[in-house]
């Protein structure tokens, strides 16, 4: 019978590191997907997966079981990702000053109003999505990924990121607003 997360966590806490293998193998793919959406980069995502599991292992004594193990793990992954993105942003700012609210979407994206006949939805539009996501500020991107892809509610996002629900909500709203501004012209073109 498949071992539950709770059983594996209990065994790890009892001093059996091998029991952690079940958790790593079970959740690696989903943590990778989260990390990739956050970073937009496969190598960074793989590094973040490892960092997430190492950090979770070290902090497993603090896991109180109120949320599921996967939710707790995603919180750690999101924070690792947020730290990485912020650090990367700091480096970029030293080289090229950019807005505190995120990158200049217009500068980094292909033109958002190509002629309709040139825009195949599953092709060219798809190419706009990743840069649009990467163009959000670190907090906006994290909040959006947790809300949109991981299905966390606003309150959970706030707890995961250590901010109040209002700030989490505001980050999601701003993220959606920016995505709409960037993608809507292309989507409208595709429909016309």
């Amino acid at each position: 019978m498949e071992q539950s997360d709770a059983t594996a966590v209990a065994q790890v806490r009892a001093g059996n590191p091998d029991a952690y293998r079940v958790l790593v193998e079970r959740h690696s793919h989903s943590v990778f997907r989260l990390a990739f959406r956050m970073t937009g980069n496969e190598q960074d995502a793989e590094d973040l997966v490892q960092e997430t599991f190492l950090r979770a292992y070290r902090q497993i004594g603090r896991f109180d079981g109120r949320a599921s193990f996967s939710t707790w793990l995603y919180r750690i992954a999101a924070n690792c990702s947020l730290d990485l993105i912020r650090a990367r942003k700091r480096r970029q700012e030293q080289q090229t000053p950019i807005s505190d609210e995120g990158e200049d979407l217009g500068a980094s994206l292909p033109a958002a109003d190509p002629a309709p006949d040139r825009l195949a939805f599953s092709g060219e539009l798809k190419q706009l999505l990743a840069p649009a996501l990467q163009g959000l500020s670190p907090m906006e991107r994290t909040a959006f990924v947790l809300r949109h892809y991981e299905g966390m509610c606003i309150e959970e996002i706030g707890r995961a990121l250590g901010v109040n629900a209002g700030a989490a909500k505001h980050s999601v709203f701003r993220a959606v607003q920016k995505l709409r501004r960037t993608l809507e012209p292309a989507l409208s073109s595709a429909r016309s």
């Binding site: 790890v12 806490r13 001093g15 059996n16 590191p17 952690y20 293998r21 790593v24 193998e25 079970r26 959740h27 690696s28 793919h29 990778f32 997907r33 990739f36 959406r37 496969e42 995502a45 997966v49 490892q50 960092e51 599991f53 190492l54 950090r55 292992y57 070290r58 902090q59 497993i60 004594g61 690792c80 730290d83 990485l84 912020r86 650090a87 700091r90 480096r91 599953s122 539009l125 798809k126 999505l129 990743a130 996501l133 809300r147 949109h148 509610c153 606003i154 909500k169 999601v172 709203f173 959606v176 607003q177 995505l179 709409r180 993608l183 809507e184 989507l187 429909r191």
Partner: protein, 247 residues
């Protein structure tokens, strides 16, 4: 009822607003429905952003990578860092790493290949020594910071990030050379640096104390000094008439 604003519609899209009145308004108001359709198109489009699928055995690969770094007592993962046998082995491990470089197993720095062996040796010793020295400086700054209240470690974080990349190269070189002991130790050093790099840049006093305690309580600075001294001695050119010291 007045029209729903964009924030209301976002909450509605995600099912976080179960307001019967808003629902009734949506049913009755074409303008709001059009806004919702437009929002839905954008957010649905984001679902097409698919990350690459890792291979079936990805979980196993992650496990193989992190397993050597797990200690039985998770809350004290760093406890093994400074066990006496590890301390004694540290200088030897650094030497083994350098030996791996000198054995020609690391080829990235091609410009070094054309140099004489003693010069190459000194360059590499300086590089490793410099890496350790910079690591030591960051740790010392953190340990000696006696601020009360929130501490901004963004400067140390950035330097730690730079060192992580360098450390990773040394670790990979050791791994390629088949020296699991060296790669394992560098893995641990990498985690210390990563811990600093990935901490929030503003720490409250409890978080900062924890990082400082980890660095301080087990004598990491002492260990780095020992290894650095060892490397510096090896950097010195051999006295004339004497055979060069082997690594």
């Amino acid at each position: 009822m007045k029209h729903l604003n964009e924030d209301d519609l976002v909450l509605h899209y995600y099912g976080e607003r179960q307001d019967p009145e808003a629902q009734r308004h949506l049913e009755a108001c074409e303008e709001c429905r059009a806004h919702l359709r437009s929002l839905t198109r954008v957010l649905d489009a984001m679902n097409r952003l698919e990350p690459p699928a890792p291979s079936e055995d990805y979980g196993n690969r992650v496990w193989q990578r992190i397993a050597p770094q797990l200690e039985p007592a998770p809350a004290r993962w760093w406890a093994g860092w400074f066990a006496p046998r590890r301390l004694v082995a540290a200088a030897a491990m650094a030497a083994l790493l350098v030996a791996a470089f000198l054995a020609g197993r690391v080829s990235q720095r091609r410009q070094i290949a054309g140099l004489s062996a003693p010069v190459r040796e000194r360059i590499l010793l300086v590089a490793v020594g410099d890496h350790l020295e910079r690591s030591q400086m960051i740790l010392a700054e953190l340990v000696n910071n006696e601020s009360k209240g929130p501490v901004d470690i963004s400067g140390e974080q950035q330097r730690a990030e730079d060192l992580v990349g360098e450390n990773r190269l040394y670790r990979q070189a050791a791994l390629k050379a088949g020296d699991r002991a060296v790669s394992s130790v560098l893995d641990e050093l990498e985690r210390v640096l990563l811990e600093i790099a990935h901490s929030p840049s503003k720490l409250d006093s409890a978080e900062f104390d924890e990082i400082r305690r980890r660095i301080e309580s087990e004598g990491i600075l002492f260990k780095i000094r020992v290894v650095s001294t060892n490397l510096r001695e090896r950097e010195m050119p051999p006295a004339s008439g004497k055979a060069g010291r082997s690594l």
